[in-house]
């Protein structure tokens, strides 16, 4: 389960603040549980009747565990992808919200018994339902999913074995929108999300045969195995007395498979949904992830260079238009610059990639170059405009008395001198662009930061991935800064 589109902050603040009150009344400290209300129903969502409260099956299970421990639940809003990190830094006592059981999770945290069994299912466009039944039918095709999930790991494995192309998303809404729009050929996600999306969006079908099965669990800090054991006992009791079934029925996620699972879970010894993988440490995994990081660094570099090229070209035209253009042109360009600088680049990327998809369906990389390039063009144009206007009037007058046309003056006299003034801020902007390129992961481009986040999520630590990522960014930006400084020295010596 996972995250939907960014309306994150307001919901988060509201929910975090308001849910403190309930638990404060009990004598014992509240059980703070972290989840992401942006994930929506049936997991956790803001209550439509009172948006300051949350509801969902995870909310009810958290309440069961809390009450079983003699405490009151207190919801803490946290971005889904950050639940593990927030848990270990002590932001809350237990993390829930459709967290998938997997070996890496068990290696790093105290994980409860699974309380829900889901199926990873393949969704394809209605017209393709006969063609694409399983992953093996999707050789060479683009298959979307949410990054840093079991489904993504399955797709990465299938990339090597079956030759399909995994496309990582930051939310679980856009994969299906892109499926219907034709940007991807299939989506692999759990059946809860697939069913929910299917109800909202026509144009695709969910293949009945599951690709894999998985389980939702609650996670406790590694050092708090005792509380986890208590939670396990509470969950088993609720499985036996039918409380859990009631909750799942109420949220329409109960089916025969779920009944069979709960039967197995209560009859057998405590089930470990996944095995631990003690060999997968941050250090040893570096070699495994290095090729992917290098590939992502290459994407970051290419993306930044192309975006900067576009930004410089468009920026020069805008600056020239604002300096030399007619009043109407100047006004129009000023509106563009102010509109672009006054709105977040993230919003612009969404508009270009998703908002305009009805008019022009750009590939993600092209949309990223366009979004970053046009955004930075506004900033570049201001640098060039001020540099052009900083050229002393006698320089321009001398050029005019020689008979040069205004365009020749711009090209041969004013432009080259302005370039020297603009070089330092341009270098700054390129370095900033290099880092801002991480934003394009929201439109499915897996660049350096996104790849690092996937790596860090998988190994449960940011130390090695963060260091490697920082080194890669430095390796990309330092040569440019060095080159710019040399050029500045050379020009200032002239």
């Amino acid at each position: 389960m996972k995250i939907t589109v960014p309306i994150r902050i307001s919901v988060a603040v509201l929910l975090t603040l308001s849910h403190r009150t309930v638990a404060q009344s009990a004598g014992r400290p509240p059980l703070r549980w972290g989840g992401d209300a942006e994930g929506g129903a049936p997991f956790v969502e803001a209550d439509p009747a009172d948006p300051s409260k949350v509801r969902g099956f995870d909310v009810e299970i958290a309440r069961m565990i809390a009450h079983g421990l003699g405490r009151e639940p207190q919801f803490v809003q946290v971005q889904w992808s950050s639940i593990e990190q927030s848990l270990e830094r002590g932001d809350f006592d237990v993390g829930m919200s459709g967290l998938e059981d997997r070996p890496e999770l068990r290696a790093r945290h105290s994980v409860s018994i699974p309380y829900f069994e889901f199926r990873e299912v393949l969704a394809v466009r209605t017209a393709d339902s006969a063609r694409y039944r399983t992953l093996s039918d999707l050789r060479g095709k683009r298959v979307g999913t949410l990054g840093a999930t079991t489904a993504y790991q399955i797709l990465l494995g299938a990339r090597d074995s079956l030759g399909l192309i995994p496309i990582s998303y930051d939310d679980d809404v856009h994969p299906y929108a892109d499926l219907v729009a034709g940007r991807v050929d299939a989506v692999l996600l759990d059946n809860i999300i697939a069913d929910r999306s299917h109800r909202r969006l026509p144009g695709f079908v969910v293949q009945p045969a599951p690709v894999a099965t998985g389980h939702y669990v609650a996670v406790f800090p590694l050092a708090n195995g005792a509380e986890r054991d208590s939670a396990d006992a509470i969950l088993r009791a609720r499985m036996r007395d039918g409380s859990l079934e009631k909750v799942f029925r109420a949220w329409n996620v109960w089916d025969d498979e779920q009944a069979k699972y709960l039967q197995r879970a209560t009859a057998a010894a405590p089930e470990q949904g996944a095995t631990t993988n003690p060999g997968s440490t941050a250090g040893s995994s570096a070699a495994t992830y290095l090729p992917a990081l290098l590939r992502a660094a290459g994407i970051t570099l290419l993306l930044s260079c192309l975006s900067m090229l576009l930004a410089v070209s468009v920026g020069v035209c805008i600056a020239a238009g604002r300096v030399y253009g007619a009043p109407f042109v100047r006004a129009l360009l000023t509106v563009y610059v102010e509109a672009v600088r006054g709105t977040p680049v993230l919003l612009q990327l969404f508009v270009i990639y998703y908002g305009l998809s009805g008019v022009v369906r750009l590939p993600a990389f092209a949309a990223a170059v366009l979004g970053l390039g046009l955004n930075y063009a506004a900033y570049e144009s201001e640098i060039y405009r001020s540099a052009l206007e900083a050229i002393a009037r006698p320089q321009l007058e001398a050029a005019r008395t020689l008979g040069l046309s205004e365009f020749q003056i711009l090209r041969l006299v004013r432009g080259p001198q302005a370039l020297r003034l603009a070089l330092a801020p341009m270098t700054n902007d390129f370095v900033a662009l290099l880092k801002d390129s991480s934003l394009v992961s929201v439109i499915t481009v897996v660049e350096l930061t996104k790849q690092t986040a996937i790596y860090a999520t998988n190994i449960g630590s940011w130390v090695v991935p963060g260091l490697l990522c920082a080194l890669a960014y430095l390796a990309l930006s330092l040569p440019l800064s060095h080159f710019a400084r040399r050029l500045e020295r050379r020009w200032s010596a002239a």
Binding site: E397, R400, L402, L404, E406, L412, P416, Q417, A494
Partner: protein, 226 residues
């Protein structure tokens, strides 16, 4: 315009807001003649030069350079001034050399890009000019590497490269020591002997008397009767 004159300025008036900066100035300069415009700071010398070079609009009178006539009103756009630009060269008080170009490239800029000469011809002429002005050895230097006197001579070479019939010079002696002033005066006389008309603004009385054929004195925007 009087017959045989390169430059003829008649009744030149320039307003700056309510203030009349030039009040009916008449100036004639014949080929081979050096005319010095003298006067205190603010007298209007530079304004006359800028109006003749079509860098400054004027409000009354007329300016004729060879067959090109400038009328009162807004400045014509640069593309309409081609004929004037071919006839008039200007040396600015602070040289205004292009900082990003070497002395040689400053001089060859107009021949290559305006007159469409090939680079070889443009450089050959530029070297000759720089040599004749005593700065041939500084051809590859950039403006900030030149002394005031060297920059002045490179600026003259740049103005002369397109071979204008009228050369305007704004305070050419401002950055020069007495020895350099004498050399400059000699160079100007040489240019005049080649048939060029020179209009030189200066407040240097000795320089004007030594090298000008005629001196016009301005005070408060009007010519002071001799």
């Amino acid at each position: 315009m009087e017959r045989g004159m390169t430059l003829s300025v008649r009744g030149l008036r320039v307003l700056r807001g309510e203030r009349e900066v030039l009040r009916g100035v008449d100036v004639d300069v014949a080929p081979g003649e050096i005319c010095a415009l003298m006067g205190a700071s603010g007298a209007g010398k530079t304004t006359v030069l800028r109006a003749v070079a079509a860098l400054q609009p004027f409000d009354g009178g007329s300016i004729t350079v060879d067959e090109v006539v400038l009328r009162p009103g807004p400045l014509p756009v640069q593309s309409q001034l081609g004929a004037l630009r071919r006839h008039v060269g200007m040396v600015f008080q602070a040289h205004a050399l292009f900082e990003h170009l070497s002395a040689l490239d400053n001089v060859t800029l107009a021949p290559i890009h305006v007159l469409r000469w090939d680079r070889g011809r443009a450089e050959s002429v530029a070297h000759e000019l720089l040599e004749s002005l005593g700065v041939g050895a500084r051809a590859s230097a950039f403006p900030r590497q030149l002394s005031g006197g060297e920059a002045q001579r490179v600026a003259i070479a740049r103005a002369l490269a397109p071979n204008p019939s009228l050369l305007l010079m704004d305070e050419p002696t401002a950055a020069l020591d007495p020895a350099r002033r004498g050399a400059l005066g000699e160079k100007l006389r040489e240019l005049a002997r080649e048939g060029r008309a020179l209009l030189v603004s200066t407040h240097d009385v000795d320089f004007a008397r030594a090298c000008a054929d005629r001196v016009i004195t301005l005070a408060d925007g009007a010519i002071v009767p001799a």
